[in-house]
């Protein structure tokens, strides 16, 4: 099963097995990872599941759709070129080994 590593703002790292078809946000919430709020439950409506994808792994992630691009302009922590909403990062085999850094705050 592909794995994703979540790195909290204070540097704590947690690696999870994430089933194909599950989003990086869903796996985090299912395992009670702090730092991802996901207030809207994964509808790309709230921008509280913001993560930074490691630059060299950006190409492994699904292409960003307009809705996500738009909502990323409303994140509480600064948007960067490697910002994504983790509810939109649905696991594929090539995303195995993904590392996401969590922002200082989601709200």
């Amino acid at each position: 099963m592909p794995r994703v590593t979540y790195v909290s703002y204070d540097g704590k790292s947690t690696t999870l097995d994430v089933p194909l078809g599950t989003s990086v946000m869903q796996a985090a919430v299912l395992h009670g990872i702090d730092g991802i709020v996901a207030e809207c439950g994964g509808s790309c409506m709230c921008a509280t599941c913001h993560v930074y994808v490691r630059d060299d792994q950006l190409k492994l992630t699904p292409e960003m759709e307009l809705g996500e691009d738009a909502m990323l302009d409303g994140t509480a922590s600064p948007r960067r070129p490697n910002s994504r909403l983790s509810c939109q990062l649905v696991m594929t085999p090539q995303m195995d080994g993904l590392v996401v850094d969590m922002p200082e705050t989601q709200t």
Binding site: E39, G41, G67, G74
Partner: protein
């Protein structure tokens, strides 16, 4: 800070309060009391992906069971609170067990408004607020041949979109003349009414349900007061909710369409706060006060505000309200409180399938409804959170760069 915080209600607000207290280092006891048997779960997906069968119970939960032990949140599930003993500073459960508090937070939410109709007790009359109700509805929907929805609000319309997606005939009966009339401007009502009609939903506006008819205890039709009778084996009652304020009222706290709280979210008793759907409060974003909001954002932000106060950082509640709904392919996002608007300025056109409605009272921008225009919504949130506005002319002018204007401000 130490002491014991007791939270009555384990919905979005109650859960968020418990989580925020721990996240910010509260060291005392946290007791979260819910009257449903499940772990705290998210309600918005009930009328969307959960009803549609796209996600299971695991993804509905706020957090896994281990989260509560790890964060020392004592969950008391399935036992409603019967009484508040303010003098003794304790709550009394239906089991007669007493739980003492240093601070009590009422996050009791709201319950379905049930119309006093003949036949309301018939089998096949459904609701969509709790997980248990949704399980019943989901099962009934699978077998339904004729769905009648009473009330064209968010819940009724979200249900209709899912039912149509499954090929079920849906007839919505609405007392007023338009959909979501309590929440959105007439332009947006017209847009959504048309979108649902195109997907095959039938509407009857301006008509009352006279009674729900049945045979052998099961619903068979809905009789309208204009004499028509609609065949039905599933009737969804979605005419709104009433706040769960009785616990507070009986304890001598003021209620006024919800538990009355001040701008710090406190009741008149300094040891009792109220948050979320059950609370009636003064909002700096509203023309008319107090307001009572039924929204995840409001519940969660209320919770954060009370957590900060308990942790010694009190600040008046100022969060900007926002709401969303998903109805088939249509996405509605609202920021602000548009009640009392006088003018609506459209940015983009409803005919194109994406637009935003800027609602004004005079020069004051009250709120923005974005339909399939998430970028407008994101910018609108930044703009309004910063206490800023755009003029009506700027709002209507697609060449005016809303993004550049909003991005110059901090996020909200």
């Amino acid at each position: 800070m130490t002491g014991r915080v007791v939270i009555v209600g384990a919905g979005h607000g109650g859960f968020q309060l418990a989580a925020s207290l721990r996240q910010h280092g509260f060291d005392g006891a946290v007791v979260l009391i819910g009257n449903e048997p499940h772990l705290p779960y998210q309600r918005p997906p009930l009328s969307k992906d959960y009803l549609d069968g796209k996600i299971g119970l695991d993804l509905l939960l706020m957090r896994p069971e281990t989260f509560f032990a790890e964060h020392r949140i004592e969950l008391v599930s399935g036992h409603p609170v019967a009484e508040i003993d303010r003098a003794a500073k304790s709550v009394i459960l239906s089991t007669k067990a007493r739980i003492d508090y240093d601070h009590l937070v009422l996050a009791t939410g709201a319950r379905n408004r049930v119309p006093p109709l003949p036949g309301i007790e018939l089998d096949g009359v459904c609701y969509l607020r709790s997980l248990a109700e949704t399980e019943v509805l989901k099962e009934r929907l699978a077998a339904a041949e004729h769905c009648v929805v009473v009330g064209a609000g968010f819940i009724g319309l979200e249900f209709a979109a899912i039912a149509r997606g499954k090929g079920k005939p849906v007839h919505i009966v609405e007392l007023t003349e338009r959909v979501m009339g309590r929440v959105v401007c007439p332009e947006t009502s017209a847009y959504f009414g048309e979108a649902h009609r195109k997907s095959g939903v039938e509407f009857s506006f301006g008509v009352r349900v006279a009674r729900i008819g049945g045979e052998g205890g099961r619903v068979t039709h809905v009789a309208l007061d204009d004499g028509r009778s609609l065949p039905a084996d599933l009737v969804l009652i979605s005419i709104g909710v009433v706040p769960n304020e009785e616990l507070a009222a009986v304890a001598g706290l003021k209620v006024e369409n919800g538990i009355a709280i001040d701008e710090n979210l406190l009741t008149a008793d300094p040891a009792i706060s109220a948050i979320g759907d059950c609370a009636s409060f003064p909002s700096r974003h509203s023309l008319k006060n107090p307001v009572r909001l039924e929204a995840v954002q409001n519940a969660a932000d209320h919770a954060r505000c009370v957590a900060d106060r308990i942790l010694g950082k009190p600040a008046p509640y100022a969060a900007l309200p926002w709401f969303w709904s998903e109805q088939g392919a249509q996405r509605l996002q609202i920021v602000g409180l548009t009640g009392g608007f006088q003018e609506v300025v459209l940015r983009g056109s409803p005919e194109s399938g994406e637009y935003s409605a800027f609602c004004y009272a005079g020069d004051r921008l009250l709120g923005i409804e974005s339909i399939n225009r998430p970028a407008d919504h994101a910018f609108a949130r930044r703009l309004m959170a910063a206490g800023r506005s755009v003029t009506q002319a700027q709002a209507a002018d697609l060449s005016f760069d809303l993004r550049a204007d909003a991005m110059a401000r901090p996020a909200g």
